[in-house]
Amino acid sequence: MVLADVTLVVPTSVDEALAEFGDGKGVTVVAGGTVVMADLAAGRLRPKKALLLSRAGLDGITRKGGKVTIGAMTPVAALEDGDEPLATAARHLGDVEIRAQATVGGNICSEASAEAPRGDLQAALIVLGATVRSGGKGGERTEPLEDFLAKGAGRLVLDVSYDDAPRQTGYAAAWRPHAHHYTILAVAAARQNGDLRVAATGLGPHAVRLTSVEEGGDAAVEARDDALASAWYRQHLLPRLVGRALADLEEA
């Protein structure tokens, strides 16, 4: 790996991180490193400028004003005993070392690769009604996670927030034994004030809301092939995982 030409910036504040990120063009953001470092080692990524966020002060979980806010650099391990269905999704991710290193912001920004889906937490955050606060071109912006994901990369995620409210939740995932597996397919569900939200991780480049399921219908979403599983398998698995996630929710 030739790194001599890579400019590495390690900001020590959020403002410095935003200034260095600029409009994001040509900047590779390194959060926990579990995706970027593997891509660097394999030569899949050749950054010009890398922004390492480990000292930017973007980690931590706060609860105030009826909101839960999770900083982008919060490790996945910090979610394991927290709000459902995010906690179950977090416990399901990778292994103990990966969960300690991988971050919430990295998970939101990691699109699926040719080998596997990557955004294991995204469906759980979508059903929690999470909004993403990000910086970049045009300045700071806050939007629902599903809108953020649909627009693609190019933003510096600062934090995600959702209502600190009681809700029934459910989660079901295809379980694949052994290490460092990205989730093949997972369905998360949550009901808050009678409002049902259902989403799936693993069907495409990022998690999607299953609005047809929320309205009482079938899950009508195209799936994709990758090295972990075929589209055919995912299509067959999806309604079963939806059923299990909803049953899990009703039991809660």
Binding site: V30, G32, A41, D95, V96, A179
Partner: protein
């Protein structure tokens, strides 16, 4: 940048985005962390960063500001094995040996957190560690023996 490994301070020159694994092996000549998959998937490169197990292949040097690194070399010596090393030796917990540094480092961290781990605790702690000799039964027995030994 300064890097403390097994209690010894080093001044390292590698690029800040270089992996800790590379720095340990290629710059400092500390070779117990193995370059297995170098994708974070096999666990053979695992070291302790401030006492917590980490994939050194996924950890950029610049993220280690002031951290204390412990590798297998820092846990015991051939004359005086650590409790975990002795248990792996006695229980035949190592076959080809390639995964062993990661297994022992992860086990050491587990027993720091949990003095009497259940079988589930052990499986969780070692879930990210491949043994391609498939010697898992003896590895788990080694961890259980180390936990028993640690009680004495």
């Amino acid at each position: 940048m300064k890097l403390t490994v097994n209690g010894i301070g080093h001044e390292v020159e590698s690029h800040g985005l270089q992996s800790l694994l590379y720095v340990l092996r290629e710059e400092l000549g500390i070779t117990s962390p193995k370059a297995g998959c170098v994708q974070g998937g096999c666990g053979a490169c695992t070291v302790l960063v401030d006492g917590e197990p980490r994939r050194s292949c996924l950890t950029p040097l610049a993220a280690l500001n002031g951290a204390a690194i412990t590798t297998l070399e820092g846990l015991g010596t051939p004359e005086s094995l650590s409790v975990v090393q002795a248990a792996f030796h006695e229980q035949y917990g190592s076959q080809c040996g390639f995964c062993t540094p990661g297994m022992i480092v992860a086990t050491t961290a587990l027993l720091e957190r949990t003095k009497k781990p259940t079988r589930h605790d052990i499986e969780q702690a070692l879930a990210g560690h491949y043994c391609r000799c498939t010697g898992y039964v003896k590895i788990v027995a080694s961890v259980e023996a180390a936990a028993g030994g640690a009680k004495k």
